[in-house]
C-alpha cells in the first residue's frame, strides 16, 4: 500500500495533486475555516430551527410533544433548501397538534453531525413520545417531500387507529382500504392501557412508513360483543382482514411493534397497489414489471383527497379479476365499492355546501390577488425574503427582496380572466372556480398568493402591497355554518365534542380547498354495466398484476409510454398494459370506466390488442425540392414513406443517445449529395429512441442504414456494419441496390463534356470490337456448321462419332448465344451513341435521356438478356 501510494504521488498527471491543496502557497496552502452556522429558517417560522446542531436541546423539546416532525438538514443541500417551504406549509396546517423542528446535521463539530450519520439530506423523521415520556421513537418518512404528502402523512400519524364499534365499521374500513388489521383490546377492565396496545399503536405508525398510500387500516375493537361477532377469542389478539380471507396472528400478545408490523407486511395481500417511485435509485416499478404483464393505471393521487374514484374502479376490477373461486365475500366487496363510488360523489357535493363560506373567503383572497395580478404584461410582482435567508446573519425580516416574475405561459381565453365574482355566490362549482382561477396565475404567483406562504411579511405586487396583506390579516378562522353532516347523534351537548366537530369540519374545508389547488376531483362516468370478468385471472396464462401510479408526480412515465395525459378523461388518467417479457405495451384508448377497463382486459387476454409503437414528434420542416435534405421519420409515417412504389428510400436508423451516430451525419449527407441525380431517391432518418418500429426493422447496433429499393420492397438490405462507414462504401452499397435503369442513369448523370466524349469514343471502340468479335464468331459458327454437315455425311465410321457430334452441336449452341448477346450489346451501344451527343456544345436533355434509357432497359429485359450496366460502366 505504501509503495503504491508513493508511486501514485509520483505521477504528475491526474493523480491527486489537487486533493489536499487549495492553493499551493509559498507559506503552504491558504485555507479558510467554515463559517459559523447561520439560521436556516426565518425567525418567525413555525419550525424551530436548531441551526447549531444542538441535539440535546432538540431532544428536550421533543419530549414536550406527543408527536414531532424533525428535519435533519444540510444548509448546502438543494433539497433541504426546498423543503423549508414545504415544512412551513405543513407546519401551518398541523402546528397545533405537532411540534415542528429542524436541525442542522451537517455543521462540522456540531453534536448532530457527530452523533448521527446521514446518508442523504434531508432526513425527515417523525418522533413519537413514549408513554413514559422519557424517550422518543423515531420513524423515518420516505415519501414525497412536498407539503401535501407530508400533511397526509402527519394526518395519518395523528389518527393511525380507527375505532371499530360494529361490523359496519369494519365493512367501511374494508371498502376504503386494501387490507384491515384489527386488534381487540379491552379498555374496560383495567385502569391503565391494555397491555400490548402500545405495541399495536406503534406498529400502526410503522406501517405508515411502508404503506404510504393508506393501503392498510388499523382498527381497534373494544367491545366484547363486537369482538365475539368478529370471532376474536381473547383480548390482545390481532386479525388481518384481507380481500379474500382473514388471518389470525397467534403471537400477538407477546409481540412488540416490530414483530407485529413484520407479520402484517409478510402476509398482506393486495389485488392492486399504488407504486411509489421515489426520487432516488429504486427498482419499485422494475420489480413489479418483472413479475409478468402489468396493468398500470395512471391517475392523480391528490394527497388532500380521501377518495380516489379511478383507483376504486381499478380495485373493483382487480377484485373480480382475481376472484378465482367465485367467492361471494370478494364479489360483495366489489359491489360495495361501486356503491361507495356513487356515494362519494354526493358526499363531495355536500361537503362543498358545508364549506361554502370557507371557500368563499379563500376565493375572495384569491380574487384580490388576481386584481393585482397584472395580466397585461403577465408580471407578478411580490416580495419575499431572499432564498439565502439561512446564510445571512441577523435580522431576516429586514432583508426582503423584490421578486418579479414573467411567466411564459399564455392565457387560453380572455373569459377566464373576467370571471364574474357573483358566480361564486352559487353553491355548486366553487371548487371548479378555484381551479379556474388558479390557471390564471403563473406558478410563482400561485406560490406568493396562497395564504400559506411561510414568510410573515410578504406582500403581493409591488405597487399596491397592502391589500392582500390586509385581507390576510383580517382573515379569522371561522366555524362552518352547517354541522348536520357531522352530527354525532342526539347526545348531550359537550363543549369538547362540539369543538372537535368544528375542527373536523374546518379540516375538511381546508382539505377541499388545498386539494382543489393541486388537482380537481376526478370522477369516472359509469353508464353501462361492465362485462363479467370474475376469475379471469386464473383462466389465462397472461395473468395481470394491477398497479396505480400517481400521474401528478410521474406523468413522464406515461409520456414515455406514448400516453398523452392531457387529453384524457377523467383528467390525467390512463390505463396501460405493459408486458416486459414480450416487449410490448398496450394503451387503453377509451376514457376510463369500469366497462372500458373490463373490455380492455378481456381484449388483452384474448390477444386482440395491437402493440403500441411509441412515436416521436413529427418534424414540421419540409424539405424544399432544391435542397439536399434528410427527412426525419416517425414510426407513424415510416412504413407509408418507405413502401411507396417507385421510390427508393435510404434510412439512417439512429438514436439521440449514441455517440457513434453523431459522427456519421456528414457521411450520410455526402452520399445524399452525390446521389442527388438519381431519380426517385430519398434519404431519411429515424430516431429509434422515440420511435418504436416493428420487429423486422429492429437493429442490434446503431447507426444502421437500410435501403428500401424502388420496386421490390421486400428486398430491402442493410449496410454491412463490419465495413467502415465511408462515403465510398456507402455509395457502392447504394449502387448495388439500384435497379439497372437507375444505375445507368446514375452512371451517365455523373458524366459531363469530357466524359461524354470518352463515352462516345469508348462506345465507338466497343462497337468496333463487337463487330470484329461478331465476325470471328460468325466464322467459327460457319466452320462448326460445316464440320457438322461433314460428320453427318460420314456416319459411324470414325471412332467416338457420337461424342464428336454432340460436342459440335453444343459448340453451335454456344456460338449462336454469343452472337445474340453481341447483337444486343451492339444495339445498346448504338443507342448510347445516339443519346450521348458527340458534340459537347449540344446540351443534353436529361429527361429525354432517361426516357430513352428506360426504353433500352425495357427492351433489354424483353429479350431476357440483361446487360450489366456495371460492365458498361467499367468499359467507360
Amino acid at each position: 500500500m505504501i509503495l503504491r501510494s508513493k508511486i501514485m504521488m509520483a505521477c504528475k498527471l491526474l493523480c491527486f495533486l489537487l486533493a489536499v491543496v487549495i492553493v499551493v502557497h509559498s507559506r503552504g496552502p491558504l485555507t479558510r475555516k467554515v463559517s459559523s452556522p447561520q439560521p436556516f429558517f426565518p425567525r418567525h417560522s413555525l419550525v424551530s430551527d436548531f441551526y447549531t446542531g444542538d441535539v440535546a436541546k432538540l431532544t428536550e423539546r421533543l419530549l414536550g410533544a406527543d408527536l414531532s416532525l424533525v428535519v435533519y438538514y444540510a444548509p448546502w443541500d438543494r433539497d433541504s433548501q426546498h423543503l423549508r417551504w414545504e415544512m412551513e406549509k405543513a407546519a401551518r396546517y398541523h402546528h397545533e397538534q405537532i411540534y415542528f423542528a429542524a436541525v442542522n446535521c451537517w455543521h462540522p463539530n456540531s453534536e448532530c453531525k457527530t452523533r448521527y450519520k446521514i446518508r442523504t439530506y434531508p432526513a425527515i423523521v417523525l418522533h413519537v413520545r413514549s408513554v413514559s415520556g422519557t424517550e422518543t421513537k423515531a420513524l423515518a418518512y420516505g415519501g414525497p417531500r412536498d407539503a401535501g404528502h407530508i400533511i397526509r402523512f402527519l394526518s395519518r400519524a395523528l389518527h393511525p387507529l380507527t375505532h371499530v364499534a360494529s361490523h359496519a365499521d369494519l365493512a367501511r374500513l374494508q371498502m376504503e382500504h386494501n387490507a384491515v388489521v384489527l386488534g381487540y383490546y379491552d379498555f374496560s377492565t383495567v385502569k391503565q392501557l391494555p397491555r400490548g396496545f402500545i405495541s399495536y399503536y406503534l406498529a400502526s405508525l410503522r406501517s405508515l412508513q411502508h404503506h404510504k398510500t393508506s393501503a392498510i387500516a388499523w382498527g381497534v375493537v373494544t367491545n366484547h360483543k363486537v369482538a365475539t361477532a368478529l370471532s376474536f377469542n381473547e383480548t390482545r389478539s390481532v386479525h388481518l382482514v384481507l380481500w379474500n380471507t382473514t388471518l389470525v396472528f397467534t403471537n400477538a400478545a407477546s409481540s412488540n411493534s416490530e414483530g407485529m408490523s413484520n407479520w402484517v407486511n409478510k402476509w398482506v395481500d393486495e389485488t392492486t397497489i399504488w407504486v411509489d417511485i421515489p426520487g432516488t435509485k429504486s427498482m419499485a416499478l422494475h420489480s413489479v414489471l418483472q413479475k409478468g404483464p402489468t396493468l398500470i393505471l395512471f391517475t392523480p393521487d391528490n394527497p388532500y383527497h380521501t377518495v380516489n374514484d379511478p383507483f376504486t374502479v381499478l380495485r373493483e376490477i382487480s377484485l373480480d379479476y382475481s376472484n378465482c373461486n367465485q367467492s361471494s365475500r370478494v364479489s360483495n366487496l366489489a359491489r360495495y365499492l361501486s356503491s361507495l363510488r356513487a356515494k362519494s360523489r354526493i358526499q363531495l357535493r355536500q361537503a362543498e355546501r358545508v364549506c361554502r363560506s370557507y371557500l368563499q373567503n379563500q376565493l375572495h383572497i384569491l380574487h384580490l390577488s388576481k386584481q393585482q395580478f397584472n395580466s397585461k404584461d403577465e408580471t407578478c410582482c411580490g416580495s419575499e425574503p431572499s432564498s439565502e435567508a439561512g446564510t445571512t446573519t441577523g435580522d431576516q425580516q429586514s432583508k426582503v427582496c423584490d421578486m418579479c416574475t414573467h411567466p411564459t405561459r399564455t392565457l387560453t381565453t380572455p373569459e377566464e380572466l373576467c370571471t364574474n365574482p357573483i358566480s361564486w355566490e352559487e353553491d355548486s362549482g366553487l371548487l371548479h372556480h378555484v381551479n379556474k382561477l388558479m390557471t390564471v396565475f403563473s406558478d410563482s404567483c400561485r406560490h406568493l398568493m396562497l395564504q400559506y406562504s411561510p414568510w410573515e411579511h410578504y406582500s403581493v405586487c409591488c405597487q399596491r402591497n397592502n391589500t392582500l396583506a390586509k385581507a390576510k390579516s383580517s382573515y379569522i378562522p371561522h366555524t362552518p355554518e352547517k354541522k348536520e353532516a357531522f352530527d354525532v347523534g342526539s347526545g348531550h351537548p359537550d363543549d369538547r365534542i362540539e369543538k372537535l366537530v368544528a375542527l373536523a369540519a374546518e379540516d375538511q374545508c381546508k382539505r377541499l380547498f388545498h386539494g382543489s389547488l393541486v388537482a380537481p376531483h376526478s370522477f369516472v362516468k359509469d353508464q353501462h354495466p361492465a362485462p363479467d370478468i370474475t376469475g379471469l385471472g386464473c383462466k389465462t396464462n397472461k395473468t395481470l398484476t394491477f398497479v396505480a401510479v400517481d400521474s401528478l408526480r410521474h406523468g413522464d412515465v406515461a409520456e414515455k409510454l406514448g400516453v398523452n395525459l392531457t387529453t384524457r378523461e377523467p383528467q390525467k388518467t390512463a390505463a396501460v398494459i405493459v408486458d416486459v417479457a414480450r416487449e410490448a405495451h398496450f394503451i387503453m384508448d377509451a376514457s376510463l370506466s369500469k366497462l372500458t377497463l373490463a373490455n380492455f382486459i378481456i381484449n388483452y387476454t384474448h390477444g386482440l390488442l395491437d402493440r403500441i409503437l411509441v412515436t416521436g414528434h413529427v418534424d414540421t420542416n419540409r424539405c424544399k425540392p432544391s435542397q439536399i435534405c434528410i427527412q426525419e421519420l416517425t414510426s407513424e409515417n415510416y412504413l407509408k414513406f418507405t413502401q411507396e412504389m417507385g421510390k427508393m428510400v435510404v434510412v439512417l436508423h439512429y438514436s439521440s443517445n449514441c455517440a457513434a451516430c453523431t459522427t456519421v451525419g456528414h457521411v450520410f449527407m455526402t452520399v445524399a449529395h452525390m446521389a442527388r441525380h438519381i431519380p426517385n431517391i430519398t434519404f431519411a432518418r429515424i430516431n429509434i429512441l422515440t420511435n418504436t418500429l416493428p420487429w423486422n426493422l429492429y437493429f442490434q447496433t446503431l447507426p444502421s442504414i437500410i435501403v428500401h429499393p424502388h420496386y421490390r420492397k421486400s428486398d430491402s438490405s442493410v449496410f454491412d456494419s463490419t465495413l467502415p462507414l465511408t462515403p465510398a462504401n456507402l455509395m457502392s452499397f447504394l449502387v448495388s441496390n439500384l435497379d439497372p435503369s437507375h444505375r445507368l442513369s446514375l452512371a451517365l448523370s455523373t458524366c459531363r463534356d469530357d466524359c461524354h466524349e470518352q463515352v462516345v469514343q469508348a462506345a465507338a471502340v466497343a462497337t468496333t470490337q463487337l463487330h470484329h468479335l461478331m465476325t470471328v464468331t460468325t466464322t467459327k459458327l460457319q466452320d462448326v456448321l460445316h464440320r457438322l454437315v461433314k460428320l453427318k455425311e460420314t456416319p459411324h465410321e470414325i471412332p467416338h462419332w457420337e461424342n464428336h457430334y454432340q460436342i459440335l452441336v453444343h459448340t453451335k449452341h454456344l456460338l449462336v448465344r454469343d452472337i445474340k448477346t453481341q447483337r444486343v450489346k451492339l444495339n445498346h451501344l448504338n443507342q448510347v451513341q445516339k443519346l450521348v451527343p458527340s458534340n459537347s456544345n449540344k446540351l443534353l436533355i436529361e429527361s429525354d435521356l432517361l426516357k430513352s434509357l428506360q426504353y433500352i432497359i425495357q427492351s433489354k429485359s424483353n429479350s431476357k438478356k440483361t446487360l450489366e450496366s456495371s460492365t458498361l460502366h467499367n468499359e467507360l
Binding site: 509520483a10 504528475k12 498527471l13 426520487g279 432516488t280 414515455k560 438514436s655 443517445n657 457513434a660
Partner: protein
Amino acid sequence: NKMTFLFVYLQVCFLMSFSTGMTEKERIKLREEVRGMFYHAYEGYIKYAYPYDELRPLSCDGHDTWGSYSLTLIDALDTLGVMENKTEFQRVVELIIEKANFDVNINVSVFETSIRILGGLLSGHLMSKKMGVDVEDGWPCAGPLLRISKDVADKLLPAFDTPTGMPYGTVNLRDGVPEGETPITCTAGVGTYIIEFGTLSRLTGDPVYEEVAMRALHGIWDHRSSINLVGNHIDVLTGRWAAQDSGIGAGIDSYFEYLVKGAALLQKPELMAIFIEARTAIDKYLHHEDWYLWATMTKGYVTMAVFQSLEAYWPGVLALLGDINSAQKIIFNYHQVWKQFGFTPEFYNIPQAEAPVNREGYPLRPELIESLMYLYQATKDDTFLEMGADILTSIQHTAKTECGYATVRRLKM
C-alpha cells in the same frame, strides 16, 4: 467490429426514478446561474491572476502551476464560445496570438499541456468562425491558433520517442525530455492524446500526431494482463507495469474515456473494439452493485472497495456508448455520495460509506457534471437536471469566494 449501441426495449421507461419535471422558467434560472458562476470565476482570473496560470481564490492573486503559459485563459476560451460572448472571445484570441510563446525552458506535463493547452487552442480555432473572428483563407485547415497548436504539439512529440511508443510524463518545451526523467507514466498519461492529436492531424494533414497517439494507445493495450485489465503505471521504456492496481479511476480514467470519444470523433472502430473488450473485463472483475472497485490486474482480486471522484466520468462514457441503463444505475450511486457530503470526496469507502482522512477534498472536479450532461442529453429526463442543480447549489454555497471558487479541502472537521 462496429461501435456497438445497446438498445433495450423501453429501457428508459422502467428502470429508475423520474423527476416530477422542471418548468422552463426554472431551467432558464439555473442556466443563468451557471453563466453567472462562469463569469464570476473568469472575471476573477482576468482581474487578479492573468497572466499567471491560475487564480488563487482566497488570496485573490495568480500563480503558475502547469507551465507559464496563462493556462486558464486558453483553457477557458471555448467556454467563452459556449457562452456566446463574441467580443471577449475575439479579444482573447488576439491576446493569445499576440502573447503566445512556447519556446521557453520549462518542464511541463505532456498530459496537462495536451488536454488544456492543445485542447483549448484547437477548440478555440474551430469555434473562431462562429464567434465572428475573421478567419483566413483555408480555415479550418489554416489559422493562427492552429499554427500555435501545431507548434505546441511539436514540442510534445519528443516525449513519444520511446521504444514502446508510450510517452514520458514530462517534457521540456525547449529541450525535449529532461535528463534523468522517470520513465514511469500513468496509464491515463499514456492514452489521453487521440482526440487532440487526431484533430490536429486531420486539420493540418500531417498524420504524425494521430500516429503517435494511436501507437501510445495500442502500447497500453498490448501490455494488458491475461484477463484484459490494465494497470495504473507503466515503464515506457520497458513496458513493465510499475503499479498493477486496476480500476477505472485515478491514473487510468481518461484512457477509457478517450477510447470511446476517439472512436466516435475520428470514426475508429478499432478503438471501440478495444474499449468493449476492456469493459467486459472491467464488468467481470471490478463491477459490484453498480460500483467499480479496484483489483489486481493479473488476477482480478479486489484490493480497495473505493469510489473515487474521478471515476464519475464512467456513466457519461456508457451513455455515449448507448448503455443508458447501466449509466443511470451508476450515477444514482454517485449522486447519493454527493447528497451525503455535498461533494464527491476524492475517495469514498463504499462499505463504510465514509471518506477516508486526507482523501476527502473536492478540487471542483467536473466529471460527475459531465456525465449528467450526457445522460440528460440522451434521455431528456429532468432527474439529471435536478442532480445538476444539486451540484450547482452546493458549490455556490460552499466553494464560492470573493474572486472565484476554491477547492474544498475537507468535508468534515
